[in-house]
Amino acid sequence: MESSKIMTAKEAVSKFIKDGMTVFVGGFFHAISYTITHEIIRQNKRNLTICQSSFNEHADQMIGAGCIDRIISSYVWMEVFGPLYCFRRAMEKSIPHKIEMEDYSNFAMTVRFLAGALGIPYLPLNSLKGSDMMTHSQWMGENKVKLIEDPFGSGISHAVVPALKPEIGYFHAQRADEEGNVQMWGILGDAPWSVRACDKVIVSVEEIVSREVIGRDPNRTILPAYKVAAVVKEPFGAHPKNTQGYYNVDRDFIFDYIKMSKKEETWKEFMEEWVYSVSDRTEYMNKYIKKFGFRKFMDLKAENMQSGSVSYGY
């Protein structure tokens, strides 16, 4: 390949994410691209439809900021950390405006992306049927899911879901080369299939490595360069989430977010401090270290636990 796709989060979001788009958001609790998420909020993108198998606070922040009209997912919450209040305010009280969610199960979402990546038009499932997710739809109507009898004569009917192929996606990973060959390890979430289902992808990474490093372990690559529109180098780009091999979850920060987001006023304070008043991720991390100290920052950093090497020789 001839040219580098490395750019800043600001450039990538400005160039590739347009109001009204259907945007895939990567990561399952682990490795969520906060650097791209915050940039979407700062650039005040509007009328987005976001999709991901399961969403956490990153969705909540975009919802509170008014970027989102529609969600396609199975889950918007933060596990034992607690509920997401912007999501609830929007769903229950249309604050800042009404949003809609098309509810699936986690596996149904995951295989909608799988089907999208493989060009398989739809998929039958053992899940979903018998639930109210079959009968309730916000905007997809008849195209959300269908109950269809097994054509192979088992006598069983299955919930059939359509492939999902988002226009643009973004996610966070450990490393990529400048052309956009992405390697990821640890918990993959709905990747690799979700990122492969997108027409184009923005990836933020902890490190840029050479094409040669990628080529030494090609089974580790989850997305080839031709799908990638932009590579954003952003160490700690998933904070307060974890990135395996680089840093752990910042539990205190997440608990603080959930506490602050209970009320609109305090949520705005939090967002002002960590999103609107910083211009990029470097300022964010500078602020973090200034506020919490170098020791706290170093506590997040991962221990070194090596995978070991294998030979690809022939």
Partner: protein
Amino acid sequence: MSERGYDFTLQELMAVAASREIHDKEKVIVGTGLPLLGSMLAMRTHAPNMIAIYESGTIEAKPSITPFSVADSCLVPGAAMQGGLVEGLGIVHAGELDVGFLGGAQVDKFGNLNAHVIGDYYNPTVRFAGSGGSNDIGCGCKRTIVMMLHQKRRFVENVDFLTTPGYLTGGDAREKMGYPGNGPAVVVSTLGILRFHPVTKEMYLESYHPGVTVKMIIENTSWNLKINDDVKETEHPTVEEIRILREELDPTGIFLNKQ
């Protein structure tokens, strides 16, 4: 609660009850909170060969500390296999797993669960997380263990939204659907332990927790709850179970001292 000369909390009792539902060598999809503690306790007592599987695609996790999330980084190093959701939930969907854990905002007498809304779906009074993997686990695991706060507004005649099928309308209604899994085996509530009639599939009370009466449980259930003929007190945790929970699994009290 104080029995047999030692103390245990309601949370601990529930974790122990969950643990005892798991048999050795079973493949268990483990959630967070009490299900996680119950599973880890089972592995340290009567089910040393239980295989712990996480929705996030971790198989045979051997964390040295208690994970906080199904995607906790501590689950990955030392696991037998790590993939993504398609790996974690694919084997659930294919019917390969023995046990799954479920919860929710509401449950009805046939074990159907609601994790979506209180009120109208399109104009909810309260909106919850949604299914996540619950629907898949409820359809796919050979059996499920439901853990619930036992309150009248949660144990309801009809759920406001059916997220995860239990036995649907009871009898053979679930069987006719042809799910890979067989439905909920037990409800471990904050007041007692409830199971399902083998034919009608209606929930009944098997045991009440120490300090709880059958009357209290009836009052906290919206429908006319059936009571087992030999209803008894829930079996107490052993000293060793409590020791493992407190000293090994939750030494800082982050999971069990919350409530």
